[in-house]
Amino acid sequence: MTTDVGTAGAAVVEEARGKRPWISPLNQRRWANFKANRRGYWSLWIFLLLFVLSLFAEFIANDKPVLASYKGEILFPVLVDYPEEKFGGFYAVTDYRDPVIQDEINANGWMIWPPIRYSYRTVNNFVPEAAPAKPSWQYDAKTRCSQLPQGEADPNCIVGNWNWLGTDDQARDVLARAIYGFRISVLFGLILTIGSAIIGVSAGAVQGYFGGWTDLIFQRFIEIWSAIPVLYLLLIVAAILPPGFFILLGLMLLFSWVAFVGVVRAEFLRARNFEYVNAARALGVPNRTIMFRHLLPNAMVATLTFLPFILNGSISTLTSLDFLGFGLPPGSASLGELLKQGQRNLNAPWLGITGFATLSIMLSLLIFVGEATRDAFDPRKTFR
């Protein structure tokens, strides 16, 4: 072949590459369908906004300043733990809420605080009445700051120190706990969902593609596996191992992948006899490539429509375990624990209401997104 033809060919290549759409037309249509569902579309944006905000919870609600300047040195207390020695104290960790430290830093520089000056485990030592205390805006200025050393004149009697949604029975800020609780719930749900999707889809794919004995043995195994009562197991494990985020995640992951196997297996069973799969076999394409390139996209539609609902399920499971006391370790920010406090302190309705509102808004948003996703993937659905 002469170079002439070669360059002409390359020119054609370049020209056509430019025309190639970034996402396939099928996915463009799905995205258009998804956008046409206004409720789902807005839910997705609101949820993403809340989730991204909560990822930066340390910068929104924390008992440390975001930025401080001390004797000409710029400090990042949110990111770095400075020992108290630095400011003339003797503890290993600095308590920036301590008036002495505050005075010291303010005298030699300045501090920028996050809008809410409590972390999820910060105990407010100056609650106006015995915890649980009402939301700060329900008190007048005098009562609100009554426990501070200098009363209303105290420099800490400011909006940043308000408990916007009150405190729980250990005098911790409810809003801060809700923000951190939202984050940990969504993260737990996401990791669990993605993890179980990977395991479940692989297992379903292998069963559906190979069929026969592989399928039969795997199916029986899954039947036995899913017959194990998860709650009992959690109780037993909770008695042996210290509870923690990853132990809980691992335990839940052992059982939650089963949900995906059914759909994916059915999809692979159906699609393995498609003509384009046969065509790929005739080309000599290895099994693994056929599964990934030709069959998995089929199964992904079913999996994707499932995902938001599994995510919701994971979050509610975590919440209910927390509520029962078998979830995250004591002291961690958890919505289930908040609900439990609400149940125990009926005189403090802000606890229950906050827990309920956070959970229901989060779950509803996810369900709306899930619904819109499902409809967007439905080829028969026409939006007008």
């Binding site: 099928l26 005739a282 000599g284």
Partner: protein
């Protein structure tokens, strides 16, 4: 002349999706007189089925709409009727037979239940009476032993029998108009001839009118009184059948009439080197029964076939559906296991494992029947074609691979600039060209073509046949051409094998088979395919 039974005036049908509206039928008008058969002819996408479906308002409303038009039946405008009034017309005055006999019957109900349901619904018959009438109907449509068939489920019947049951259902209420939407397209040629004969007979007897939708001009000539030729949503020519066939006015009609696959293959050359040879090839599927799944018998799909495909030559395999021709092809290509020797280039490949076969795959390619199913909808044309190259020539640089794709697309007559589009953006004929390109890019020596033209329009079939013939001449390819369509086989094959029930009925050079068939079965196939005539009972399957 009295007022027509059905009068369609200025009918338009629009489909809207995502804000885009496309006109599928554009101001179409035609009449059907009492006792007349009118055929709507056109290629796929011409709007013929949509026109017919709108008569009974069976389109997916509200995505479909009628911007203009009236459909008058019995002095009423069907388009203006509400759902309730329409139900009285559907299945009663106007009935319909669909293309797919496999899916248009409910698989969970017996034949009796399905027919009796119609009778009870529209004629308010009692159970006894309905049963008797069902028996009469089944007898009328030529189902043997109707008493035994009453309790059968659809899967226990053959395609032809199912279509007969569908006809019985649609005749149950003695309709005035029968709409037949490609009722024989999914059937074998021999069964097609039987069904058409039955329809003509029943029409005569009951004095009903028929609206017949088809793409096959041979059928039109046989059955229709008048023809409406449709293309791109418009009727371009209307007239009595004889007139249209003898003296077509419109350019499109002439194009349709000239569209049959033509030309002749090069003469058979028995001296050419054999590329693929099967000796006593058998594919037996075991029938297992009992608790221990003991093999009690075999379904002999392919039962001892000898076949030789030579370099630059084509062997056509013909037969009715279920005769084992596709199974034979798959066995030769080592897609399913078989016994006997299969020699490729003199080497027995029937003992090789799947992995050992892989290096040979690029010399031994398959083109499948359905161009809609055989291309992955999620891959672009370029990805589809280069998939094989990536496996068999992994050392090829992306640029060189792309050049091969561009070359092969040019070879099959597609614009290489379109290679980053997805299959759904192409028509059926173009898709089949892509599938052929996928096989050709590997430079194979043997290609198995499994009904590559059956899903295509007549004029596209002719183009694909020409393309295949050119490719064969250029690369000296050996083809195994499997088809039930004898017209295409005649245009392409040097050698023909006629199969029935897994065995060879007749084999020989194609001039001999087509010019002077020896067995009754081959003769019946020929007359059904070329003249749409039925054979005496017993020669072909029912």
């Amino acid at each position: 002349m009295s007022a027509p039974l059905l009068s369609v005036r200025d009918l338009s049908v629009a489909f809207s999706q995502g804000g885009n509206t496309s006109l599928a039928v554009d101001h179409v008008s035609f009449d059907i007189a009492k006792g007349e058969t009118v055929a709507l002819v056109g290629e796929s996408g011409s709007g013929k089925s949509v026109s017919a479906l709108s008569v009974l308002k069976l389109l997916p409303y509200p995505a479909a709409s009628h911007p203009s038009g009236r459909i008058e039946f019995d002095g009423k405008d069907l388009l203006a009727l509400d759902e309730k009034a329409l139900r009285k017309v559907r299945g009663n005055k106007i009935t319909m037979i669909f293309q797919e006999p496999m899916t248009s019957l409910n698989p969970l109900h017996t034949i009796e239940q399905q027919i009796v349901e119609v009778l009870e619904l529209h004629l308010c018959m009692g159970q006894r009476e309905a049963r008797q009438r069902t028996l009469d109907l089944l007898k009328e449509v030529g189902i043997r032993d109707p008493e035994k068939r009453l309790s059968a489920y659809p899967h226990q019947l053959s395609g032809g029998q199912r279509q007969r049951v569908m006809i019985a259902m649609s005749l149950a209420n003695e309709p005035e108009l029968l709409i037949a939407d490609e009722p024989t397209t999914a059937l074998d040629v021999t069964v097609q001839a039987q069904i058409l004969e039955l329809l003509a007979k029943l029409k005569q007897k009951n004095g009903m009118s028929m609206l017949f939708i088809t793409h096959d001009l041979g059928i039109v000539r046989k059955i229709a009184d008048r023809v409406c030729v449709m293309t791109k949503g418009k009727i371009v020519e209307t007239g009595p059948t004889a007139e249209i066939f003898d003296n077509p006015q419109h350019a499109y009609t002439r194009h349709l009439l000239a569209a049959e696959p033509k030309g002749k293959p090069p003469a058979a050359n028995d001296d050419a080197k054999p590329v693929m040879a099967g000796d006593d090839v058998k594919v037996w599927f075991p029938i297992k029964q009992g608790f221990f799944r003991k093999t009690v018998d075999y379904v002999k799909a392919v039962d001892g076939i000898d076949i030789t495909v030579r370099k630059g030559q084509t062997v056509g395999v013909v037969g009715e559906s279920g005769s084992g021709k596709t199974t034979l092809g798959l066995a030769l290509a080592r897609m399913i296991s078989s016994t006997g020797t299969i020699r490729f280039d003199g080497r027995d490949i029937n003992k090789l494992s799947f992995n050992d076969m892989r290096p040979l795959r690029h010399e031994l390619q398959i083109v499948f029947q359905d161009p809609y199913g055989s291309l992955s909808p999620r891959m672009s044309v370029s990805e589809i074609i280069e998939e094989g190259l990536k496996i068999h020539e992994p050392k090829l640089s992306p640029e060189a691979r792309d050049r091969r794709v561009v070359d092969v697309l040019g070879e099959v007559g597609l614009d290489p600039a379109t290679r980053f589009r997805y299959p759904h953006e192409f028509s059926g004929g173009q898709r089949q060209r892509i599938a052929i390109a996928r096989a050709m890019v590997l430079k194979p020596r043997f290609v198995m073509l499994d009904e590559p033209t059956s899903a295509l329009d007549m004029s596209v079939q002719a183009q694909v046949v020409d393309l295949l013939r050119n490719l064969q001449a250029k690369h000296n390819l050996a083809y195994l051409f499997i088809s039930h369509d004898l017209k295409v086989v005649r245009a392409l094959a040097n050698h023909v094998i006629v199969m029935r029930n897994g065995k060879i009925v007749e084999a020989g050079p194609s001039e001999q088979i087509f010019g002077n068939p020896q067995t009754d079965y081959t003769k019946a196939l020929m007359s059904a395919a070329f003249r749409i005539e039925t054979a005496p009972v017993g020669v072909v399957s029912e």
